[in-house]
Amino acid sequence: MLTKQQIALRIAKEVKNGQYINLGIGIPTLVANYIPDDLEIVLQSENGLLGIGPFPTEEQIDPDLINAGKQTITMVKGSVLFNSAESFAMIRGGHVHLTILGAMEVSENGDIANWKIPGKMVKGMGGAMDLVASAENIIVAMQHCSKSGESKLLKSCSLPITGIRCVKKIVTDLAVLEVDPEGGFILKERAPGVSVEEIKSKTEGKLILNGEIPEMEF
């Protein structure tokens, strides 16, 4: 089973040179730490920045410079600031190539649920619905099962949906899976030491097995 850091590390391998990327809160944020230095990529923050840099030193802290998680940040060289309408014009217009975000549930047709648990407090969807409806490539970082052991890769989502038919790839603590446009999770890679049988038993949705399934390499 992968740690959160390993999930982030594995997702970082999906990043291609020249991409503009939006990273969600949680594991996705960790991905930034593992992107190879020789790749030219730009991180977008939907509150109005292209070119997120590392966290600031104490001296660099600026209350007027935060990311979408309201954390203090810095800018890299070549950054640009803009307003929220421009930010979502970028997202909706397909200019941000890759969105990496967390999920509570994903369905075998690529639906995602990650914003609301009925009966519990509702915090709102923030920019998630815009992001999943727009980016050409959407990768989900998540645990394969809930804390009580229920599969989070489902035939259909039980929670309120954030977006439909949008997830392309899922990296969990157990596996890398792609969503088949016809429906179903195509198992691409196993976490080290995890068997196909275990993944199958923990995937409620249709699991598609094509030939030998390799272990992930790091």
């Binding site: 509150n47 600031p56 935060i66 203090t72 307003n83 979502f88 309120p160």
Partner: protein, 231 residues
């Protein structure tokens, strides 16, 4: 050039009535109209509807208006980080409309730009789509969304001039420019107010035509929600 200057926050918000439909700039606590919120707290008004991406925290920003029970309804994209908000919502004292952040930004932009409705893919297939027209363009499904316009927009900029031209700083820009344009009366508070002609006409973020009142604010706290430093 038209002079939009008013004396201070109290004068700027003096005629906002109970039941008013307001917009307030800011993302989290960044770029919020601190002085205007403080002046509103001095007024005996209630039943406000506020369009704002967030609802502040318990003891700062819009959270202060919630504490005084001045708010009837919030129209926002994300309202976590606020226990008093949660209490009022669950008890039925407060209404909330949750809107995808990009849709919120574009609805406000549309309000200022005279676009009564537009189509966006955000929310298709979700509960956000309920009751809305769905239409296919070039093989993809979209929702029709309406503009948002306010009676008063309360916004915060870094620098401004007496003609109402504004420059924002960092990510404190966020929703402020669109809300300026979407307000019937837009009140801008700025950290530094200069005479018209001192700002470079090529470097202004919000043209003064959108601003009806402007004043230099004071004692900005600029509270940080998530203070993160490099390890």
């Amino acid at each position: 050039m038209i002079n939009k200057t008013v004396k201070d926050a109290n004068e700027a918000v003096r005629d906002i009535p109970s039941g008013a439909f307001l917009m307030m700039g800011g993302f989290g606590l960044s770029g919020i109209p601190e002085n205007c919120i403080a002046a509103l707290l001095q007024r005996d008004i209630r039943d406000l509807t506020i369009v704002s991406n967030n609802a502040g925290v318990d003891d700062f920003g819009i959270g202060l208006l919630l504490q005084k029970r001045m708010v009837k309804k919030m129209i926002s994209s994300y309202v976590g980080e606020n226990a008093e908000f949660e209490r009022q919502l669950l008890s039925g004292e407060l209404e909330v409309d949750l809107i995808p952040q990009g849709t919120l930004a574009e609805r406000v932009r549309a309000g200022g730009a005279g676009i009564p409705a537009f189509f966006t893919p955000a929310g298709v297939g979700t509960e956000v789509a309920e009751g809305k027209e769905i239409r296919e363009f070039d093989g993809k499904l979209y929702l029709m969304e309406r503009w948002l316009r306010s009676e008063f927009s309360l916004i915060k900029a870094w620098k401004g001039d007496t003609a109402g031209n504004l420059i924002f700083k960092g990510t404190a820009r966020n929703f402020n420019p669109m809300m300026a344009a979407a307000g019937k009366i837009t009140i801008a508070e700025v950290e530094e107010l200069v005479p018209a002609g001192e700002l470079d006409p090529n470097q202004i973020h919000t043209p003064g035509i959108y601003v009806q009142r402007i004043f230099e604010g004071k004692n900005y706290e600029k509270r940080i929600e998530q203070r993160t430093v490099r390890s």
